[in-house]
Symmetry: C5
Subunit: 352 residues, 5 copies
């Protein structure tokens, strides 16, 4: 138990999780195995080695729960042997970048889900594959996903619920995955609101536009992770799966509901960002117009002294005004008067 927790904590905290599995393991755990235990009537009996799984599997009221993290081919093959898993599913489980989906292979189901959580400012996307069949659950994590030790502890804390068997474990993991989307959506939500404030207060700087762009990309990616999960959960809810008890239905319905809520939030944020784009175009255009008006106004005002002074700077011999005693001052006064008049005119037309 102590070791298992350590493993789990490591796997969740580190960014290079491959290192985790390669440690030798005094308790007989292999690299890639985060935890492997047998539960009977909801209570943990003992930790087992992968090789023992087959013998435990068909005993009455027993559930084997194995957690793997980026297992190598050999380990996967052994898991396959113990639980008679389907070739194609095992092949999929060996590599990341699957579509979220639920597939039924005879008595067993194979679930792929994409996980997401915040690591500082960044969203870390991971992938979890789940094999669920009579008497066993095997979870296979790829990439920087959170460890399921927290789920295991919570399940062990309520043996009555865990006694429902493998589908309860599946529910717990799916619920945990969906719950983990929430803080990600909230983080994006916060950033969208900050962007909105900046847009409406001032205007978007280039860094903001870049930020807006990255938010849209992240929401798209998150949406692609979440949307197929709606169907996965719905099929659980509608009891289309082998071995599902009616008693589990409300639980899966609850997960479906949470996924839908996440999806709705994502869609709303996507639409808000589209509004932001459009508002930014409008504000930018309005600003551009304002600058043009100011530029035109000042150009007109400053053209006055230039034009008049140019004329009296000509070198004609016969320019009577040049000899007027107060000619210079009159011209200066005219220039100033014209400039002030123009300034007032533009002011009144709201160009300045």
């Amino acid at each position: 138990m102590a070791l298992e927790r350590t493993n789990g904590r490591d796997a969740g905290a580190e960014r290079s999780p491959a290192a985790v599995g390669q440690q030798a393991d005094a308790a007989g755990h292999r690299p890639g195995v985060v935890a492997a235990a047998v539960y009977q009537h909801g209570r943990r009996l003992r930790d087992i080695r992968i090789e023992e799984a087959g013998e435990w599997r068909n005993r009455e009221g027993v559930v084997i729960w194995i957690g793997l993290h980026e297992p190598d081919q050999e380990l996967l093959r052994q898991v396959q042997l113990e639980f008679d898993l389907n070739d194609l599913a095992i092949e999929d489980a060996g590599k990341a970048h699957q579509r979220p989906k639920l597939e039924i292979y005879g008595e067993a189901i194979f679930v792929v889900a994409r996980t997401a959580h915040m690591t500082g400012e960044e969203i870390a996307f991971g992938e979890t594959h789940l094999f669920v069949g009579r008497g066993y659950v095997v979870s296979v994590r790829h990439g920087p996903s959170t460890s399921y030790m927290a789920v295991r502890q919570r399940c062990e804390a309520s043996p009555a619920a865990l006694a429902h068997g493998e589908h309860y474990v599946l529910y717990s993991i799916l619920d945990f995955i969906v719950d983990n989307y929430m803080p990600v959506v909230e983080a994006i939500h916060g950033e969208v609101e900050a962007l909105e404030d900046r847009l409406l207060r001032d205007r978007l700087a280039k860094a903001d536009i870049e930020h807006l762009y990255m938010l849209r990309r992240n929401l798209l990616r998150l949406r692609n992770a979440v949307v197929p999960l709606v169907d996965v959960c719905r099929r659980h809810e509608h009891l289309e799966l082998p071995g599902m008890e009616v008693a589990m239905q409300p639980l899966f319905r609850d997960v479906t509901d949470h996924v839908r809520r996440v999806q709705e939030d994502i869609d709303a944020l996507r639409e808000v960002l589209a509004f932001t784009f459009e508002a930014s175009l409008m504000i930018g255009q309005s600003e551009q117009t304002e600058i043009s008006r100011k530029l035109a106004s000042w150009a007109a005002i400053l053209a006055v002294p230039t034009a008049i002074a140019g004329i009296y700077g000509m070198n004609f011999e016969q320019m009577p005004e040049l000899r007027f005693r107060y000619g210079y001052f009159v011209v200066l006064a005219i220039i100033i008067a014209l400039c002030v008049t123009l300034y007032r005119f533009f002011r009144r037309a709201r160009w300045l």
Copy 2:
């Protein structure tokens, strides 16, 4: 009764409703309980305490109607005990921010609806959760939603209708919620029309663009509140729920129809605001072009005196024109003539 009404009025009027539930209550009402009464054959028998609900529940022709406002966990647990409510639904009811939905748990249904009403210039969004089962209705309000005392009074005023039981109460509350959307949609409608007028008369100032943006956000939020309700009402209308009488069907169909009407209005307003955005872009662009044309025209006109005066301002010793007797006046005349010609030209080309 007197107290109950006061509570109700308070809860509806105040912005910090948490304060309401914490008052001690001489009549034995707990904080968080807005009203709790027993009705038989459509007539109010008496007010009850939550603890008495269980005993009243299964009597012939009796409906218990309890109204809660932001109840604490303990109160919710007791309500759950009295009516055997589902764990997951109670967990949901304890916190706001649920998706509007209808869920069936055995003989009971659980409805989540989002409410909206105007408080001055602002839209106040709230949430109501409803537990409906044989012989009882429990409403749980979160956030600044309007109190349902008005609904209760209206129901009590028509005992024949109320005698239909818990589904009539549910209908009355849903109808009230949907009716309350209408003034919100109308307020937005008025603002959209004011914005349109401003756009077509002049152009959108930055404050208008901000306003347009906020209207779009509010409509999005309102839409997310209203759209899932269509499905909630439709399921009522199609009698998919336990304990629904055929006689109630037209009533629920009427609510469905109102929700659809609200949805249609929201969608039309959303589309109008998209048109407004596009028209604003076009007007802005057309304005920008006009300014550029004016700027270019005046720049050309004013370049004439500058260029000519510059030439006669050169200090060459041999510039015959400078010695012509009327040279200065001729040049002045040429400058004026050129400027007037240019001005007319631009005028005719509609650039000025």
Copy 3:
């Protein structure tokens, strides 16, 4: 009969139709009642008062056809009494602004349709509610909709068809409503083409942009009136209604087809206006670029005399060129040569 026709004509022609119903009526017609007659085997038997409707209603081969225009509550209540109409439908019929829909209440159906016709340059939107049951049709018009006297005359002219009963009357009215959409769509079509011509010949002035905006709004409103009618007609066509004869099916299919045709036209016009918006943006941008190029070209050409004249306008004592005999003429020639060269250059680059 004479009076009835007058009433009908008035109601259709005037803009304030409320005035119509308030006239006293020598023939015993009430205000609000446009026409009320009994037909047997397709032939008009006699005009009746509303109070007589109930007794005529169940006779063999009889159809009562009542036309109301903005009736008051009392009149509606009496109609309800005579034909046992549903409370909710009567409540709806008392006020305008319903969604187009078809609802079945037991043996009776209730249809809401939005009407549209041109009054000069403007589109006038109205609303018609229809109650249809065994042996009767009641039409209730709200707002500036066209009178159905023309429909009544056409029906009376073909007794064989009218002998099919109330559903034939319903068909005739729906067909009339849908036919009336056509000129509205054609009027908008004409305006869209005029706008297109203006856009492609020149560019859109601000008044055109406003016009474009109003066309989009009107099309949206028309679309919201027409689209729900597709479903209303389709349900007729598919015989989902009480009392529908198979013989009527092709007639309703024909109406469905016309509604779909109107909808297709509206959608095409909406798309064309979206293209117009985009083409206008492109033309505006292209125009803006052209102006900028012209402005830049002329600024460059006019900068030449200004810069050179400025240099020879300096007052240095030692400026050898100033004393050259033909210095002035050479400089003038250089200025002109440079300007011509620049002009040609910009000309060739298609900037001028």
Copy 4:
């Protein structure tokens, strides 16, 4: 036969096809009748007059194939009499501008299709109405559609196929109509590619924008012609029609497939034109920015001599530089040096 072919060729080639039908006809053909013949077991028996159709109609293995072009009401009435056609369908067939559709009237079906072909640079849209029932096919062409003589000849060339009866004729005509869409789509395709080339090589001139606009309108119109035909063909394919043989199924499936292919091509072209619009906006904006940069750069460079020369053009008595021996040359050198430096600076910043 000779005459028939001539008629057919004329009708296809001319732009004012109404002229065709009005010629007197030595062979007893009426104006409006392009061809009318009886086939037995796939072989042409003889040409008939419309009035004879009724007697031939019910003989074993006989198909009557009549081709009309813009028939007058009288002719249509006679055709209706001979084949017991439905009133509503005949009414529709008398006027153009129907929606493409397939309707079943008892044992007969009525098909409306819109045709399109290139006449030089222009797309000519026409309409064809088809009545198909046991033992007959009547085609009614409106507007500038291609004659079906080619179809008739091809059918007569393969009697074994034609022996399948009226549905084979229907198939042949639909196949011909759909095949005729292809060159239209290809013509538009060519124009879109030419536009693309122009856009990416240079930029869109105003004539190109107009062209782009017209292409979008034409594609919209073509799409509205083609899309409803998918459903028409699909219903044939799924044997939902009276008198369809299973053996015809693959043929109609083939037509469905071609219609879908045309639709896919149209949709792809529409999307490409939307991309073109967006790319044009981007290119236009980028060009505008470039011009602004050039304008700003040259304005800055030319401001240097203007400002410096202006200063040394002042008439102060005490300006020591003016008396320096090489003052003028130094200032000239400074001006040139500053201009070159600025030029290089803007060059390096990619503004020039």
Copy 5:
């Protein structure tokens, strides 16, 4: 075998594949035939000529697998004869540019798929038609598609799987086609990311906009190739086809899953490119505004010396300042002070 491989390699590597089929063939292979072999119980028995196919076809456990590349009409006719293929399918197979589809002709199915692979920087689109029936698979490649020799070798390497018969061969080919989409999508993905980097670091040059445009076109084309394949695979997966074994279902489900994954990636890339377009508009607009501000600022700063110097360049006789001893220096100082003040002002307003 040796020859076959050579043929295969040639056909895949060359850009003008028509050349391949025209070589004479010592082993009796015709031009256009890439390979033709008989398999029994998953093992290759021998190569055959097309003419022998018919006799082998109905033997127990035998599968004939023929690979054609742009066959001529005669060859196709012979293949049709040997396997009783449908006329319409053979007609389709003779020409490229079919829609991807699956059609059932009695006992045989006909599949059309579009292939795509990278040849250097370009995407090469091809087409493959497959005839699959009891005991045979015929593949017909058009255009620059990759040869299926690799598929054949892989199948021959696992006889147990190949023993499942023709549907296993079909699966292998479809799987290969879908796998080949992946590198194309990844290549586009890489280019999109490069474009993004350039956009966010600097801005899009005209070449980038052209690139963006071509990427959007390619994605559209790829999407049109991939999307109809989802339906083709789904129908396999759902056992809607003649002769499909249940054992093959998971394999086809796996292909479906891969196609969906490709489709999801394409849709995500399309959306990212739409974001790129919008971000580019925003960045372009923001840049334009910045340039306008800079231009306006510098114009204002440089207008100061021009205006002041112009005034003191006037030739009035009475201009007292001109005679002040330090007049020139004071004016110079004022000019510099004003310029510096303006510069600081614009700096603070973030215009410079």
